[in-house]
């Protein structure tokens, strides 16, 4: 989304200011994902801090040629959250590492607005939206998610593919509208 390469180099050089700025840019999106997975504000805040501690400690492991900085942080956050869920979930099914069995029955109090989705994803058809929500915001694997939605894996994958295509169209439209407005100025 923006050119963070200089900030990331400074992060690798252990520049606290770079960490602070990167945190400002990414903590909101990452916190949202953690919250939606774990549904507990206190735990989510600990996990967020833990995630950025790892970003600080392991910054040298990040390889920009392999993907975006956000993707890297997202994976760290997701793995840490899944680990906590596995440890605390007594219903854990070890055979497929599923951590989501009976998840919906857990009465964890959290502001419902934290679980709501915003932006382009809300314009998707319900089943497309659910597919993305499961794999992106709830941390399910494709394999878990297609069972959750009770559709064949192939169908589920095509949901994801169509949803992504739709999102792509929406985002490119938004960008061209913004460019038009900027040009008009």
């Amino acid at each position: 989304m923006q050119d963070d390469s200089r900030l990331i180099q400074q992060l690798k050089d252990k520049d606290e200011r770079a960490l602070s700025l990167l945190y400002d840019n990414y903590s909101g999106a990452i916190y949202s994902v953690i919250l939606k997975m774990i549904k507990d504000e206190g735990k989510a805040q600990n996990l967020l801090q833990d995630t950025f501690m790892t970003v600080w400690d392991k910054a040298d492991n990040y390889d920009a040629s392999k993907g975006r900085f956000y993707t890297w942080v997202y994976r760290i956050a997701k793995n840490k959250t899944l680990n906590v869920l596995r440890k605390t979930d007594p219903l854990i099914q070890t055979d497929d590492f599923s951590v989501h069995t009976n998840k919906e029955d857990d009465a964890i109090s959290i502001e419902s607005e934290y679980l709501e989705l915003n932006g382009a994803i809300t314009t998707l058809e319900a089943h497309h939206k659910e597919a993305i929500e499961l794999v992106y915001f709830k941390g399910l694997t494709h394999k878990e998610a297609h069972q959750e939605m009770d559709v064949p894996l192939g169908t589920f994958k095509s949901y994801v593919r169509q949803a992504l295509k739709q999102l792509r169209t929406t985002y490119s439209k938004t960008i061209s509208v913004l460019l038009l407005i900027l040009n008009a100025l």
Binding site: Y31, R75, G119, A120, L164, Y171, L185
Partner: protein, 261 residues
């Protein structure tokens, strides 16, 4: 695994989401490194995923950040390190765009406001013109009405015309009077009456059996005017009196008279 399979099987999405095992990851990374088209597709996908995340961002409490910064300071306390304070312009691009839109709207509002003011001013001009025209019409109407009144009085077949010619005191004077005994009206034309100074006025009298009865003071700024009609008048007389008129005529200042049949 090849490119076609990668594109059709949704594996790239799973890769971005971190679902794949080490072996699959390595294969995908090799394919990405060697295929620019695939890499472009992957870049787009990642950007969209990031946008999706940013769309749904929830600001964490500020305490998390300060704890984080404290934690890294204490973990790296034995490092002596210079922190470069670089004034990097880190404003988020969408804030910039929001600001642009706001500026655009502001400029638009300002323009509309100016337009509104112009229109208001024009409306005011039109309104004052309108008032002026209305006043003119009122004045013209009044004049027309007066003129009509005089006209009907003068052209009435029952109206008789008497001419008052100036005597020795005022030989150049001439007043035409139109008397109608049926409608009991008197209209006089004073066009030929010489101007008086501000201290004096002409006054008109009717002679009824030897008594002079006031018919009214003659206005200085009108050529045609209505005077009081007096029953049984034998003659019409005009005298010069102090400004504003007199109760009794100053007979030595009589300038003209005419007998009525």
């Amino acid at each position: 695994m090849d490119k076609k399979m990668l594109l059709e099987n949704g594996l790239l999405a799973q890769y971005v989401l971190g679902e794949l095992n080490a072996k699959d990851r390595e294969q995908i990374e090799q394919l990405l490194a060697s295929d620019a088209e695939l890499k472009a597709h992957f870049d787009q996908l990642e950007a969209d995923f990031e946008q999706l995340g940013q769309d749904n961002a929830i600001a964490p409490p500020a305490a998390v950040k300060s704890q984080l910064l404290d934690a890294i300071k204490s973990s790296a306390s034995n490092d002596t390190k210079v922190v470069h304070l670089q004034p990097k312009n880190n404003t988020k691009w969408y804030l910039g765009i929001a600001a642009s839109i706001a500026a655009f709207l502001l400029a638009g509002s300002f323009w509309m406001y100016n337009q509104l003011n112009d229109v208001k001013q024009q409306l005011q001009t039109v309104e004052s013109n309108n008032t002026e025209l209305n006043t003119t019409i009122e004045v013209l109407n009044k004049e027309l009405q007066d003129t009509n009144t005089f006209y009907t009085a003068i052209v009435n077949p029952d109206t008789e015309q008497y001419i008052l010619k100036g005597n020795d005191l005022l030989p150049e004077a001439k007043v035409v009077s139109y008397v109608n005994h049926k409608t009991k009206s008197v209209v006089i034309n004073t066009e030929r009456l010489p101007k008086l100074d501000a201290d004096h006025d002409y006054q008109m009298w009717a002679d009824v059996e030897g008594e002079m009865i006031n018919m009214g003071v003659i206005s200085k700024d009108k050529n045609l005017m209505t005077m009081a009609y007096i029953d049984h008048a034998e003659s019409l007389n005009i005298t010069i009196e102090p400004a504003g008129g007199n109760d009794h005529p100053t007979v030595e200042k009589l300038v003209t008279n005419v007998y009525i049949n």
